[in-house]
């Protein structure tokens, strides 16, 4: 049963040797002529919807570099790209069950997740902090005691918030939200006092808020700056190798730095705001020495 589609594909493509060698995602992409890219609604500026509701962002650009490499490797110039909306809460099972082949967003690479999925070279480093309205005068984690605090379901941030809450007995009422936009709206509409998330995501949400001056990001952090990676399936060595090679070349090239500048230091859609976030020392290191290491300490 398993041989039939494979043999058929090999016959149709006239390249039996090559088709037989392919495994995992590359084999699937070759057979179906399409690749599925998981995209986010509101991970600005990594993966989000522009004014035409089209997914754009820094991670999307990187993913298209990987897809270009796939096209070249498989000799499929007309490879079809399917865009599949995913959430923080379902991206990992959807990767495991084959709904998506690449996840292009703001997914933290950590040891726990590496048991389920793999990540290609780190594309960003960010620490977990919280945003609150200035009028609430919240700046330290201790001040969140007894408050309602929101975070996005399925993120490392909500796990860290829960852990700190339990360890320090703060009595925080932790509320999960579907995505970052919804979580931020909880703060904006006064439903929650604070939103715990990666600082870059918080900065972009504030920048696009109706009144950016009303919000402040905490100095206190729940974590050191942790690496983001493009997620791929676990144990798919050839596909990961291809993605690693493509991203490595991209980060080392001038185009990589230009793409960073395009999303973090220039006006971006939909409203033309500029995040004004130059590369940190850790980011420069991550670009000069591309790595998929989940350990935050390795980027210093």
């Amino acid at each position: 049963m398993r041989f039939i589609p494979l043999a058929l594909a090999a016959m149709l493509l006239g390249a039996p040797a090559m088709a037989a060698e392919l495994t995992g995602t590359l084999q699937k992409v070759k057979e179906t002529g399409s690749i599925a890219m998981g995209v986010r609604d509101s991970s600005v500026p990594f993966s989000y919807l522009d004014e035409q509701q089209k997914p754009v962002g820094y991670a999307i650009d990187i993913c298209y570099k990987i897809i270009d490499a796939v096209k070249k490797e498989l000799n499929l110039p007309n490879l079809k790209v399917q865009l599949v909306p995913v959430l923080s809460s379902n991206r990992i099972p959807l990767m495991a069950n084959g709904t998506i082949d690449l996840e292009c967003g703001s997914t933290t690479n950590n040891v726990d997740r590496e048991k389920q999925v793999s990540f290609t070279n780190t594309h960003y480093l960010t620490a977990s902090k919280f945003v609150a309205k200035k009028s609430e005068h919240l700046n330290t984690i201790a001040e969140l005691a007894g408050k309602t605090v929101v975070s996005t379901a399925g993120t490392t941030n909500i796990v860290q918030l829960n852990q700190v809450n339990a360890a320090r007995k703060l009595g925080i009422n932790v509320v999960p939200a579907k995505d970052h936009a919804e979580a931020f709206l909880m703060v904006e509409t006064g439903r929650a006092s604070a939103f715990v998330m990666d600082d870059i995501i918080l900065a972009s949400l504030i920048a696009s808020a109706k009144d950016p001056s009303a919000y402040v990001i905490s100095d206190d952090a729940f974590s050191a700056a942790e690496p983001y990676g493009i997620m791929v399936r676990k144990d798919d060595v050839p596909f990961k190798a291809l993605a690693d090679k493509a991203t490595r070349e991209f980060y080392l090239s001038p185009e990589g730095k230009a793409t960073y500048a395009k999303w973090f230091q220039s006006p971006i859609p939909p409203k033309g705001l500029n995040l004004n976030t130059p590369m940190s020392a850790g980011m420069k290191h991550a670009f000069e020495h591309p790595s998929d290491n989940p350990d935050p300490a390795s980027y210093n």
Partner: protein, 229 residues
């Protein structure tokens, strides 16, 4: 209330209707058709299958009806690719898009409800009709096809349509998967532009107008199509 701005609705009408509502209506129509077909098969199997088969169908119908749709949507979103792998013998989970996954979920879920409607309909047909059909030399399948089911569909049409209106409202739950149905489209704009009040009020209005008009239509149909008995 201070800055209620319906301009935002106006600007996004094409996206709301051409993308969002189109998804919702397509999903509703296809899921209703699929659900009625599968539900009718289930009802027939339950009525005239052997004890094992009808027991199995009864178990299925009761299981599905005991579960919240939200849970079933989550189950299927993650499970369907594995089931597809098992059915097709593919070496890996097959890829299923959001629409296909939602459609399969709603067909399988609503079929349980449609099958109960069809079962009640089949039970309402006097047994003498089946006997008469068999006396005329028709097989069981022919009796169903030519005698029983046409009447059941006619008697049950208003109930089937009412259930379809429920299905139309239920499709809004694909929101939990971040799929762009009508509510999904409204919420994406609401969240992007911080316009929850306007977008959710408008979404509620559209659902209300469509459901209300449809249920009025069903009431008129019920009056007109009632089988004289």
């Amino acid at each position: 209330m201070s800055n209620f701005d319906f301009d935002i609705v106006w600007q996004n009408l094409p996206y709301l209707f051409l993308v969002g509502l189109r998804f919702t209506l397509t999903l509703t129509v296809l899921a209703a058709l699929g659900g009625v077909i599968l539900g009718t098969l289930l009802a027939i199997l339950r009525q005239s299958g052997g004890p094992v088969l009808s027991g199995f169908v009864a178990g299925y119908v009761n299981l599905v009806r005991a579960l919240p749709l939200v849970l079933v949507i989550f189950w299927f979103y993650f499970l369907v690719p594995y089931v597809g792998q098992w059915v097709t013998g593919s070496p890996r989970p097959i890829q299923v898009g959001g629409f296909a996954s939602a459609l399969i979920t709603f067909i399988v879920f609503e079929a349980a409800y449609f099958s109960e409607i069809m079962r009640a309909g089949i039970a309402s047909i006097p047994r003498g009709q089946s006997s008469a059909g068999q006396a005329l030399g028709l097989t069981h399948a022919q009796v169903m096809r030519y005698v029983v089911l046409p009447q059941v569909f006619r008697i049950m049409l208003p109930v089937l349509l009412t259930q379809t209106i429920v299905l139309f409202q239920d499709t809004s739950l694909v929101y939990v998967l971040s799929i762009t149905d009508f509510l999904g489209a409204a919420s994406k704009i609401a969240e992007r532009d911080g316009r929850l009040v306007e977008m959710y009020t408008f979404a509620a209005l559209v659902y209300f107008v469509l459901s209300f008009a449809a249920s009025r239509g069903v009431q008129r149909l019920r009056a007109r199509y009632a089988v004289p008995r």
